[in-house]
């Protein structure tokens, strides 16, 4: 007899998913911080062991009341066992005792306390001994909990390249025996940018998944916003750039509730019911944006945050200050040119000055679903529906997630 799909299952699915993604990386972070970056492998083995214990015991015993705390204890004991075989084992046993289990309690969506473990580990893994790409890649894997294919999508790279880079990074860190500690202020600036980049990519994966059934994975966004805010308020890491970064993430996250409609179809910015945007996050983002203006530096985070703020404050797509958005993209293009910026700028230009100008400014869409979709929309607005169709079809075949594919399907049918 097959067990019926009862109400119990969804909650178990959520629980185990959350544990796999959040706790696993959090537990590794907490352990690695105590053990040193050279022992990240020990921390990972210990957490793997804890997950294995969960797999073999929970079906018999049921899920413990505080699963994360259970996993933390089992992982800690395993780490002790592994280290007892080494000379330093006994000494570390004392150091390890105070590890508190990762708290599952959250007082609200974005107002959890700063988790020093994760922030410290982020800075530690963004070590200058590693190449800039390796820092971000390693941080995304070790601290942010992204998978290799997700990292590859975020960094516009190949999974095999990412996997090799990770292996090399691990070896390098272990060979140099890097200690995990919040770096002193004088070296901080060098590392903070890699941390912000990693958090931005982690956020992006949550905001616009690189593949799969769901367009968004809000847990990634929640985590990235939380860490970005921690960065912005931490006495050592606070800076105008960190505030701008926190503003960008909070303002963008405010639109999460409307990214996908109730029918499971992705919604374009202009079709989203703006009254459902998260006002609390908008307020929070604007606060950080204001604080970000206290210095004289203008970073990519300032520019991106400004664009997000213009959208957040506009009563509708039609009433958006598109000319200002184009102007900010022009600046962004100067400091940080990329095909993504070029595409977004062209879309804004089309909204500011009409589809003909937008179309002319679009980069060649080759292989990019968003490029084809933008081309198709401008062509449609120009009455060139036959040409538009080809681009809609191309975009549909390239769509990365199911809700986006459904949206293009709908546009093709209309």
């Amino acid at each position: 007899m097959r067990p019926p799909a009862d109400a119990l299952q969804p909650s178990i699915h959520r629980l185990v998913d959350t544990l796999a993604r959040d706790s696993a990386s959090r537990l590794v972070a907490a352990l690695a911080r105590r053990l040193g970056a050279g022992r990240i492998a020990v921390a990972e083995d210990a957490v793997q062991h804890a997950l294995l214990q969960a797999l073999s015991l929970w079906p018999f015993k049921g899920v413990p009341d505080r699963p994360e705390a259970w996993l933390a204890t089992v992982a800690k004991n395993r780490a002790l066992d592994l280290l007892r075989n080494e000379a330093r084992g006994v000494m570390l046993a004392d150091e390890l005792t105070p590890i508190a289990p990762a708290s599952t309690e959250s007082t609200g969506r974005f107002d959890r306390e700063l988790n020093d473990d994760e922030l410290a580990l982020l800075f530690a893994v963004c070590h200058p001994a590693l190449s800039p790409e390796a820092r971000v890649t390693f941080a995304l894997k070790t601290v942010c909990g992204l998978t290799v294919p997700q990292i590859a999508a975020g960094l516009l790279s190949e999974p095999t390249t990412i996997a090799q880079r990770l292996v090399r990074a691990r070896r390098q860190l272990e060979a140099s025996g890097v200690a995990i500690e919040t770096p002193p202020p004088d070296v901080l600036a060098d590392r903070a940018e890699a941390v912000r980049t990693a958090l931005f990519l982690m956020f992006n994966e949550g905001y616009s998944a690189s593949s799969g059934e769901a367009l968004t994975q809000p847990e990634f966004c929640v985590e990235a916003v939380r860490l970005s805010r921690a960065l912005a308020v931490h006495p050592v890491t606070c800076s105008p750039a960190s505030d701008a970064h926190a503003a960008l993430l909070a303002l963008t996250a405010s639109r999460l509730p409307t990214r996908v409609g109730p029918d499971g179809v992705a919604q374009l910015l202009e079709d989203q019911p703006r009254e459902q945007w998260d006002r609390g996050l908008i307020a929070l983002g604007l606060e950080h944006l204001e604080r970000s203006a206290r210095g004289r530096v203008l970073t990519v985070w300032h520019l991106r945050a400004e664009i997000a703020a213009v959208h957040a404050l506009a009563p509708s797509a039609a009433e958006t200050d598109w000319a200002r958005i184009v102007a900010v993209y022009d600046q962004l293009r100067d400091i940080d040119p990329s095909p993504v910026v070029e595409l977004a700028r062209a879309v804004a230009l089309g909204r500011a000055h009409g589809p003909a100008e937008g179309l002319a400014a679009l980069p060649v869409a080759d292989g990019n679903p968003y490029g084809h979709a933008a081309t198709a929309i401008f062509l449609t607005e120009l009455g060139r529906t036959d040409e538009a169709r080809g681009h809609f079809e191309k975009a549909r075949s390239l769509a990365r997630t199911e809700p986006e594919r459904r949206l293009l399907e709908r546009r093709l049918r209309s």
């Binding site: 007899m1 097959r2 067990p3 019926p4 009862d6 119990l8 299952q9 178990i12 699915h13 185990v16 998913d17 544990l19 796999a20 696993a24 793997q48 997950l51 294995l52 969960a54 797999l55 073999s56 015991l57 929970w58 079906p59 018999f60 015993k61 049921g62 899920v63 998978t147």
Partner: protein, 119 residues
């Protein structure tokens, strides 16, 4: 209703090399399987056994011979058991078929044994 012993055999540490995602997927399935049965009152009891660290006692020529075992290096050990409630052997077998233990490793296997009734 009758009771059956569901014996789960496996190689020790057979799951140690599973990737994290796969492991969590299997955990989810396994817990869902057990909890659904529990909710229906089909599970009377069950325990996970350690893969090693036990004792084996045998008689040899009128003398008791005690040895350590099973060892973690063993190919096949009794990893755990459930006592399940079922109408008949067919239902008990169906429960065992659905048990994610079977899908966890090719060498995993299960045994369903009716528990003798006093009447």
């Amino acid at each position: 209703m009758a009771q059956f012993l569901l014996l789960l055999h496996s190689a020790p540490n057979y799951a140690a090399d599973l990737p994290r995602e796969k492991m969590m997927e299997m955990t989810r399935k396994y817990i869902a399987w057990a909890d659904a049965l529990r909710q229906k009152g089909k599970i009377v009891g069950g325990e996970k056994l350690t893969a090693s660290g036990g004792r084996q006692l045998r008689s040899s020529g009128g003398k008791l011979v005690v040895s350590d075992g099973p060892y973690a290096e063993a190919k096949d050990v009794l990893g755990g058991y459930f006592i399940v409630e079922a109408r008949d052997l067919a239902e008990a077998e169906a429960i065992a078929r659905d048990c994610p233990h079977m899908a966890l490793a090719p060498s995993n296997w299960a045994e369903v044994r009716p528990i003798e009734d006093m009447q």
